[in-house]
């Protein structure tokens, strides 16, 4: 097991460097530059900028400098937001995205697992059909539709909740709408996964054995069925959590939240190379660790899996 984990961790670094290199290539291929704006720059000013940021050096040399800096964990300063370093921006924005993401995921788990399990237990009942119809709806209506509708009702008609902005980690009122909007989609997905997983497990032999042993229905479901039925949810959780930590662009823009997703989009539009590479490196490592965590969780949940 330990060997497996070590192997996976070791491979993460080169993988991330490959991702960063590809991203760097794409940024360089994209037309335009971080300093292009509506007004044409005089050649002298453009030359000054290119010298300052080393853009006058040979491309290979620029690439090696970039990789060297990333390996040392020095992402440099944002090219556009010159007062801030990339590390600083990551430190400031990731917690915001993570707060929203984790709260949303917890809420989604709560709603999704409950409705999914109930639907599986009462298969083909109106409860099953009702909750699955709701899940379908939740999954197919994009969050840029749900978000504004919630804002319209709760902020602009009822004036109960603020329509946007971040008010610190304890600004609960500001958190409610983005968290609920984000949770609804994941809840729908989790509900469907749970239902499918549970239905499969409930029909399996070991559940029949458990029932035959005379275990109470509660013990059958919570101790035996859920463990197996949750496997699809677990494999979904890894990438979903990584995605949520990395910020959700749409939610952060609609609700004007200072999170990583918002910054990421801006950095791409600004051709802010250092910031783009920093975020890509961070997110790719995060996703790889999340996948590793999922694999470890598999081994824990399913006795048949051994590494």
């Amino acid at each position: 097991m330990l060997q497996f984990i070590l192997k996976r961790v070791v491979i993460i670094v080169p993988m991330a460097l490959v991702v960063v290199s590809l991203t760097w290539g794409l940024v360089r291929l994209a037309p335009g530059n971080f300093y292009t704006s509506e007004k044409k720059l005089s050649p002298a000013i453009e030359k000054n900028i290119r010298e300052k940021y080393g853009l006058d050096k040979p491309v290979l040399q620029q690439y090696l400098i970039m990789i060297g800096n990333i390996v040392r964990g020095d992402f440099g300063d944002s090219l556009k937001y010159q007062d801030q370093s990339v590390n600083e921006i990551l430190w400031r924005t990731v917690p915001v995205s993570a707060t929203i993401g984790i709260l949303a995921y917890l809420l989604a788990l709560l709603i999704g697992l409950t409705t999914g399990t109930l639907a599986a237990l009462k298969q083909n009942s109106s409860l099953d059909y009702g909750s699955m119809a709701f899940a379908m709806l939740g999954q197919s209506v994009p969050n840029f539709v749900i978000g504004p509708i919630l804002v319209l009702v709760f902020s602009l008609w009822l004036y109960w909740l603020p329509p946007a902005r971040w008010n610190g980690f304890l600004g609960i009122a500001n958190l409610i709408l983005p968290v609920v909007t984000l949770a609804l989609i994941y809840a729908a997905y989790i509900a469907r996964l749970t239902r499918a997983g549970m239905l499969e497990v409930l029909r399996s032999d070991y559940i029949r054995t458990a029932r035959a042993k005379g275990l109470s229905e509660r013990a059958v479901i919570f101790r035996h069925a859920l463990r197996g039925g949750l496997m699809p949810v677990v494999s979904f959780t890894g990438p979903a959590l990584a995605g949520l930590l990395a910020g959700t662009v749409v939610i952060e823009r609609i609700f004007a939240l200072p999170g990583l997703g918002n910054v990421f989009i801006q950095s791409c539009l600004n051709r802010d190379e250092t910031l783009i590479l920093g975020i890509v490196a961070f997110v790719s490592v995060l996703i790889m660790f999340a996948n590793l965590a999922v694999d470890i969780a598999y081994a824990y949940l399913d006795p048949r899996i051994r590494y």
């Binding site: 994209a30 037309p31 335009g32 530059n33 300093y35 292009t36 704006s37 509506e38 007004k39 044409k40 720059l41 005089s42 002298a44 000013i45 030359k47 000054n48 900028i49 010298e51 300052k52 300063d77 556009k80 937001y81 010159q82 007062d83 801030q84 921006i89 400031r92 924005t93 009942s125 109106s126 409860l127 009702g130 504004p148 804002v151 009702v153 902020s155 602009l156 008609w157 009822l158 004036y159 603020p162 329509p163 946007a164 902005r165 971040w166 823009r253 609609i254 609700f255 004007a256 200072p258 918002n262 910054v263 801006q266 539009l269 051709r271």
Partner: protein, 672 residues
């Protein structure tokens, strides 16, 4: 089970009914205003200026959102008038201008202080200007100050040429083709020689140097110099066996005569320079903080400011809070205790915040076109005033078919701009290079010149007034004259010979750009029978392509004035590599502008500019489309915030009025 479901439905219905009731109560109570209208309990203004500021260093960003923030944090020699943006005294109490309008002496107020209490002196300005032009600062707005003598040379790392211990002079090596560009020496007569005369300012060594004939400046780069020699062989002898002396910050035309007297010397007459000085690039930066903290000087804990406000807190991508600066010279007249600048970009999010009463005002053009009709009726809040933001279509004049004047004119005349402006809702039609909103004096000069040209051309007043207006008949005629005959069948026009598939109308991806492009496309189809394909591109992809005139057909150009003078628009077509995006270059036009700008009498200058504008318009380098009008809102309790043509606010005059009887009603009268 069934019964249970029914109960749920009933519960749901009840909730909906209750919500609708609550909504009804809320809106009817406040229907005069848009949403919550409750003044904040403190003297605080909550404002959305746009995205996160690039930097708090005024010499770095070039955008409007930051410009508004800098108006709170830094004060310049002159400030913008809150209503019409003309330059008014600020740190400079008074000034004198030389007769040639190429030298300015500013008398600074003695009570101006930095937010750390240190007095602001003339040497602070000298430091700031030198820093702004220093190549390592990489200021993108430095070009605005290239009028200052040797500023461009310093910024471009150029060198003076020294031979036999003597600096060579520019006039001795002027290439034949450039001799006409009116180098200051060429027309120097004794009465022009005199600098600022009225004040009894002692002559200094620096002043003698800066007023002496222009030194020869060449590139600091050897390869570039070789290129220059190719263009101008006269330089060859000059550059051989010479010593190259880098142009330093100390060489630029800025001098602190004493602590409170600052002299700025320009390389040419620039009547609009005073207005330009209110730009953020020319606002002083704190030497004491920059030298102590280096790059980190803009951090909230280190930053020192010169304006009415200082930084209280900065949470990037969220909010910048500024508070009243007690050391500001006019602090007793600053009414707000705090301004919160929120970074929000989504237009609907901004309106949501405004409706919910979370912000008190927001910056220009944040109301989506589809909402404008909803917002207009709020007469106490919606601001619709002239501004200096123009839209054109540039045409690639280097390639067929737009290298043909008649084609350009036909495409211009076939657009109904009145209809376009109505369609855009917040725009007015534009027929010239510069908008009428820039200055009423220029407007007068322009109509005088226009009348004169009319008499010369022997046309009736009516015909003349409509010469650039929508005229599909004439447009088809012009297109036919250019060799692309327009055919009419069943009330529809076609123009089979026009190579419409070879051109496109390019614009950067943005909702309103698309709407305009589709509108204009329909007009050309209807009136000329030409279907121009549309091509939308991401902003940073679009710009380099347009700037290099590397497109086929037409491309969108948006322009907002840097300063309140027609030259900011006319200059778009000045020089061989200009911002116009059409590839237009006409030495005669450049000469006309140069002549106008060395004119001492403002009215004559305007007339000359108007003549140049008319000259350029005859060649139709642009299709002028529309000029914007302001499109923003403020709560009625926010007073002193005026819809000036650049949406650049003087925050120190803004206050929160708690007495509803004194609130703004009908903002149409706000400028009176």
């Amino acid at each position: 089970m069934k019964r249970h479901c029914f109960n749920n439905v009933r519960l749901g219905l009840a909730i909906i009914a209750l919500s609708v009731f609550a909504v009804g109560c809320r809106t009817s109570a406040n229907s005069r205003y848009f949403g919550e209208t409750v003044p904040p309990t403190r003297n605080i203004l909550r404002y959305v200026t746009g995205p996160e500021p690039e930097s708090l260093d005024p010499q770095i960003p070039d955008g409007q959102p930051e410009a508004r923030i800098f108006l709170a944090l830094y004060e310049g020699l002159v400030e913008y008038d809150p209503k019409d943006l003309h330059p008014v005294p600020a740190i400079a109490e008074s000034w004198e201008i030389s007769r040639k309008i190429d030298e300015f002496v500013f008398h600074l107020r003695k009570d101006a202080k930095w937010s750390d209490g240190k007095p602001i002196t003339a040497s602070d300005f000298v430091y700031s200007f030198r820093r702004g032009f220093a190549p390592e600062t990489v200021s993108r707005t430095a070009e605005l100050g290239y009028f200052i003598k040797y500023a461009k040379a310093f910024n471009a790392k150029s060198v003076f040429v020294k031979k036999n211990n003597q600096f060579l002079l520019a006039k001795d090596f002027a290439p034949a083709t450039e001799a006409k560009t009116n180098e200051p020496e060429n027309n120097k007569s004794p009465e022009n020689e005199q600098a600022v005369s009225s004040s009894a300012i002692a002559e200094t060594e620096f002043h003698q140097f800066i007023k002496s004939p222009d030194r020869l400046v060449v590139s600091g780069d050897e390869k570039e110099r070789a290129k220059a020699v190719e263009v101008n062989p006269a330089l060859k002898t000059a550059l051989e066996d010479s010593e190259f002396v880098p142009v330093k910050g100390e060489d630029i035309g800025v001098e602190a005569i004493d602590d409170y007297t600052l002299r700025i010397t320009l390389r040419q007459s620039a009547p609009f320079f005073l207005g330009l000085l209110a730009h953020q690039f020319f606002r002083p930066v704190p030497q004491q903080a920059i030298e102590k903290y280096g790059k980190a000087w803009t951090r909230p804990e280190n930053i020192v400011t010169s304006g009415a406000f200082k930084v209280k807190e900065h949470k990037p991508y969220d909010v910048l809070k500024v508070e009243k600066n007690p050391n500001y010279w006019d602090a007793q007249n600053v009414k707000l205790d705090e301004i919160d600048f929120y970074s929000v970009e989504e237009q609907t999010t901004i309106l949501n915040l405004y409706k919910a009463g979370s912000i008190d005002a927001f910056s220009n053009h944040m109301i989506p076109a589809s909402w404008v009709d909803e917002m207009r009726p709020f007469k106490d809040e919606y601001l619709n005033f002239p501004e200096i933001f123009t839209q054109y279509y540039s045409m690639n004049m280097k390639k067929p078919p737009f290298d043909n004047l008649k084609v350009r004119q036909a495409f211009n005349l076939s657009i109904d701009k009145v209809a376009l402006a109505e369609f855009r809702k917040t725009q007015k039609p534009l027929y010239d290079l510069s908008p009428p909103s820039i200055s009423s004096e220029y407007e007068k000069a322009r109509s005088a010149v226009s009348e004169e040209l009319r008499l010369k051309s022997n046309t009736s007043p009516e015909e003349w007034a409509n010469r650039n207006h929508f005229n599909p008949e004439r447009a088809r005629q012009l297109l036919a004259e250019a060799g692309f005959a327009v055919q009419q069948n069943n009330n529809a026009y076609t123009c089979p010979s026009f190579p419409a598939d070879k051109i496109a109308l390019s614009y950067n991806t943005f909702e309103s750009n698309r709407l305009v492009a589709e509108f204009v496309q329909a007009q050309w189809k209807q009136n000329l029978g030409v279907i121009v394909p549309l091509k939308n591109m991401e902003f940073k992809t679009f710009l380099p392509m347009k700037n290099a005139v590397d497109y086929d057909g037409l491309a969108l150009t948006l322009w907002s004035a840097d300063y309140l003078d027609p030259y900011t628009f006319l200059g778009l077509q000045y020089g061989i590599s200009n911002n116009g995006g059409s590839g237009y270059y006409d030495p005669k036009y450049d000469r006309m502008l140069d002549e106008a700008n060395s004119e001492l009498n403002p009215q004559t200058r305007y007339e000359k500019l108007a003549r140049a504008e008319a000259y350029a318009m005859n060649q139709q380098p642009f299709i002028p489309l529309t000029v914007g009008s302001t499109n923003w809102m403020k709560k009625p309790y926010v007073k002193g915030l005026y819809p000036n043509p650049g949406t650049l606010h003087s925050w120190k005059y803004v206050y929160i009025e708690r007495d509803p009887s004194k609130w703004d009603s009908n903002v149409e009268n706000i400028m009176k």
